[in-house]
């Protein structure tokens, strides 16, 4: 069998989702954002919600998400994506509304908006990319930075007496009555990517069915911010992030 017998349109089994634009992504090589964008595009396509999705961009690395996934996006002020999503969902109850936020956006400047939107039980889905660092601004310490982890603003490692402790926003979310589905996933290996896709899909379906607020945390890498290669970043994440941010469902009241 020759190569041209295999490479035929009818034999195509996997490719870039059609909702993903040709625009080259500005993310660093190996960044988890690209993967999550791809999953979101695949899920929206599979659900047939291309024309009925309104997504809210954060401020952070994913600020240009609207360039890459071909659905309607709103660019919210820093941290205000859940507030923006709440209003959109209340005005358009039949639309699929989700926010896409990083740890600087959701766990720092937008903590109030995020927690109150979840506590009100807004029927939105929230995707939370936790890479324990401020990626866009050059690798400064984030509220989710691990103890002892070195960043640009804590070059000797994060210390409890000086910087406090990492914020587990997903654990807080699981204690709120308004949330229906809270889970923590990762996108480092093929099985984890499949699980993350399933989780995001469930969050989107909860939003459409009006079950309450869903939060999907994706424990991610920031190869540039961590000063590692994409491979080393994945290994570092498995070694250091997973013990602190264990994967799995924290709450699921929909089942």
């Amino acid at each position: 069998m020759e190569l041209q017998d295999i490479i035929k349109p009818e034999n195509k089994v996997y490719g870039k989702p059609s909702l993903m634009n040709e625009t080259p992504m500005h993310y660093c090589p190996g960044c988890s954002h690209g993967l999550v964008h791809k999953l979101v595009a695949e899920i929206i396509e599979e659900m047939g919600m291309e024309e009925d999705t309104i997504a809210i961009c954060p401020v952070g690395c994913a600020v240009f998400a609207y360039r890459y996934v071909d659905v309607d996006w709103i660019e919210a002020s820093h941290g205000r994506a859940p507030a923006c999503a709440s209003s959109v969902k209340r005005l358009w109850p039949k639309k699929l509304v989700f926010t896409y936020q990083g740890d600087g956006d959701m766990a720092c400047i937008g903590t109030a908006e995020a927690i109150h939107a979840m506590n009100r039980g807004e029927n939105i889905a929230m995707i939370f990319i936790n890479n324990a660092i401020y990626g866009m601004t050059g690798g400064q310490m984030a509220p989710t930075t691990l103890m002892g982890m070195k960043t640009a603003t804590c070059p000797y490692g994060r210390q409890a007496d000086l910087h406090g402790y990492p914020l587990h926003i997903t654990d807080i979310a699981a204690t709120l009555e308004g949330t229906c589905y809270v889970t923590r996933q990762a996108v480092n290996t093929v099985p984890n990517i499949r699980k993350a896709k399933k989780a995001i899909r469930q969050a989107f379906e909860n939003s459409l069915k009006g079950k309450g607020c869903s939060l999907v945390e994706i424990v991610s890498t920031c190869a540039s911010g961590w000063k590692k290669t994409p491979q080393q970043a994945n290994e570092w994440m498995e070694e250091n992030m997973f013990p602190y941010y264990p994967l799995g469902d924290l709450k699921n009241t929909v089942e």
Binding site: Y27, P29, G34, I193, R194
Partner: protein, 75 residues
Amino acid sequence: MGKMRGAIVVDEERCKGCNLCSIACPLNIVKLSMTVNHKGYNFAEQTDWEKCTGCTSCAIVCPDGCITVYRTKED
């Protein structure tokens, strides 16, 4: 029994050479090229297409969606 035969096509200009596909490939047949694209990245390429089964692992882990996978059953 027909063997599964696969092949990948890499969007070389979109590839950023993160090497995640090469790590994910169970048969170790995706590697970074010795040449670079216009952005200066060593892009991914398949080294031994005769072994490929079209498992899609490389394409699933690709953050930029550069890899298209084709698969068919050999008669």
